[in-house]
Symmetry: C2
Subunit: 409 residues, 2 copies
């Protein structure tokens, strides 16, 4: 069968693009960790599998294919299904935030929105400002565009929004229950960020996958609502780019997210999406639409909030019992993560990860949330994936790993 | 609700990335054209909707969710579901082409594979060699990386594979029923391309969405088979990167494609996919896997070949009746397209498109398949989407449009 006369040579292949020399493989390790038996995964950002609405979705998918065969199985508009865009525009509109479907782009996961934003905004070397520490996936998404990243601690005493946004292509924030710290950006800081974006014109990305997971009350206003027009008749045209997803609210396997932005930005992102995957699956879009229209999303949310509040409490109690000697943390009021900071600056969490894996527990070291990789004194701990007994056992293993690390120093 | 004290300003927004100044919107026009009433769309590359296996897929999706809830609805491995990768490795393995799952990456559509290849191989300004005329979607996918494109006519008398591949990061070909021309790359040219790739180490992308749509016989060997190892025990490690998709074989709405390549390339693409959409939907992957395992794909293929052969004949007969005065073409032996070349060099197909739309028929002008936009003497005509009477009516409208154009000159 092989009619070629020459042997296969692998020497002298062209070099890969330069950014590939600068990647981390931690996310891949985390996703693969799911298949290691007995390992307790406190590292990822995975929802509780028992919240997946299996029976409802099995019925919904069959129904939407039979009712909408061309839309679910054929090619569709790059921007997303018309009905889904209309539904999202209506869902996020308020008296002062006037959204039309032209303000909405459906994306193949929230991650794709980050990728598309990098494509349309970044030339190589462009400066951006990122809430620090920064969501690992955002750093992954933008790495091929090779931006210069300005780390900004939104909760530091000398935070200056105008200085933070000065001269950058965009600023990036996860205002609700930030990945990785689980903290909320305060209302005064939100105002400062929005005012700085409005004054400078700089794009401000509001990435909000966790906003619906508030255990104790209401979130401060969204950035995009703070930036909405005073003229209620006017369609939204502000500099805030809001990102949402169904991954934490219905099911990650649907890979459905969305962007809410000015029409100018939606049009640019649409051109980028055209060359990225042409269009998002009409099947998974229709399923998401069905869940949005028929209350499924609210029923899951209410169960998720109750379940995750309980698991947060279990984790924080276990941390107090087993780990307070070495770490300090704030109790998060929502989201999926506790951010545990080492009391001893000699406690290096990159080093800790190796001991943790040997003790069959996986955690996320702070270095992966820092574009420079230099922050090595904290851990992101997920409390949503595991049932209480596994959370407690995971924290105990982490205590063993920490003890081994500190004794080996 | 609006606590901001400043008005919304839109002036002085940061500029978009430089590549956005250089995009075309033709694909978007085509996708949107589907919603214009009475317009006959000969422009796209859409499969016949009557071939969509609606009932079978409606049953399959329900079944796979109930049987595999975590895999279909949760996050999955970046590289794709293990079972799907194994099935694809087995399906494409031969006595001399030894594939393991590490040679396979599942992608969110064939388009995503092109996007990922651009990300991992191209720095700004890198040279690539493209079969000319070139698939529009590939040009869209690579535009954000700003390559320098070397147009290569594989069927020209002075074609020189070694010269074509010299110094480029990769070469790109659609060997079977090329988009846009519908032609096959001949067996001698395939050998020449593969030999040049093996000798130089240059990556050679074999994009094969149409290979299963051969109406009259067998395709020449795949490039990847020509490059396979003589040593049958050795895992594939050659420079050919093969791209497949279920879009033309099962349903585009699943957005499932795959890459077959050396493990080195698969690993690089996986890093790029991590920052692009994290993972492909487990739901649509499981549906594709089910269709691959249970013969659905073969039953659709056999119906597609019969239906499309008939429609090709209808289109070519209508062209002979109504358009032979102005155009010449080869009868394609497979795929989805006829490439009609203007006899008169004054017949500009960009100009023709305007007349065509006025006559309620949409066609693809050759300029969109040329990175420089200068080829304006041909049309790509799709014969798979429409039933015979619409194909004939579409060709008649195209004849009216051509007559109007030529009379207005």
């Amino acid at each position: 069968m092989n009619a070629s006369t020459q042997p296969v040579v692998t020497a002298h292949r062209p070099e890969f693009a330069s950014w590939l020399g600068n990647t981390n493989e931690i996310t891949r390790t985390f996703l693969a960790a799911g298949s290691i038996p007995d390992l307790i995964n406190l590292a990822g950002g995975l929802p509780a599998p028992e919240l997946l609405p299996t029976d409802q979705l099995a019925s919904i998918v069959e129904e939407v294919i039979r009712q909408h065969p061309a839309e679910t199985l054929g090619y569709g508009p790059i921007e997303g299904l018309n009905d889904l865009r209309l539904t999202l525009a209506e869902r996020f509109s308020t008296a002062s935030l006037r959204l039309k479907k032209e303000n909405i782009l459906v994306t193949t996961s929230g991650m794709q929105a980050l990728d598309l934003l990098g494509k349309v905004l970044l030339n190589e070397g462009d400066p951006i400002a990122c809430q620090f520490p920064t969501y690992l996936g955002a750093l992954d998404a933008w790495r091929p565009r090779q931006p210069r990243i300005r780390n900004v601690a939104f909760d530091s005493a000398d935070f200056d929004a105008v200085a933070a946004l000065k001269g950058v292509k965009f600023a990036y924030s996860v205002p609700n229950f930030s990945n990785p710290t689980g903290k909320q950006v305060t209302e005064p800081v939100r105002h400062a960020l929005v005012d700085a974006a409005l004054a400078s014109g700089t794009w401000l990305i509001e990435d909000d996958p966790y906003g619906t997971l508030n255990f104790d009350g209401q979130n401060p206003p969204r950035l995009i609502n703070l930036a909405s027009n005073n003229n209620a008749a006017e369609q939204y045209n502000g500099p805030i780019v809001y990102l949402g997803t169904v991954s934490k609210q219905i099911a990650p396997g649907l890979r459905i997210g969305w962007v809410i932005a000015s029409t100018e930005m939606i049009e640019a992102l649409t051109l980028a999406k055209q060359g990225s995957d042409m269009c998002t699956s009409g099947l998974t879009q229709r399923v998401a639409l069905h869940a949005l229209r028929n209350g499924l999303i609210e029923s899951i949310q209410s169960r998720a909030v109750d379940l995750y509040r309980e698991r947060r409490d279990v984790m924080c109690k276990a941390l107090s019992t087993h780990l307070s000697e070495w770490y300090e943390w704030d109790v998060p009021i929502g989201g999926m993560f506790v951010w545990a900071h080492a009391r001893n600056p000699q406690l290096n969490t990159n080093e800790l990860l190796k001991h943790a894996m040997q003790n069959a527990v996986c955690v996320s070291p702070s270095s992966v949330f820092d574009a420079t990789g230099t922050h090595q004194q904290a851990l992101r701990l997920n409390f949503t994936l595991n049932p209480p007994e596994k959370i407690i056992e995971g924290v105990k293993r982490l205590a063993s790993a920490t003890r081994q690390l500190m004794e080996s120093n």
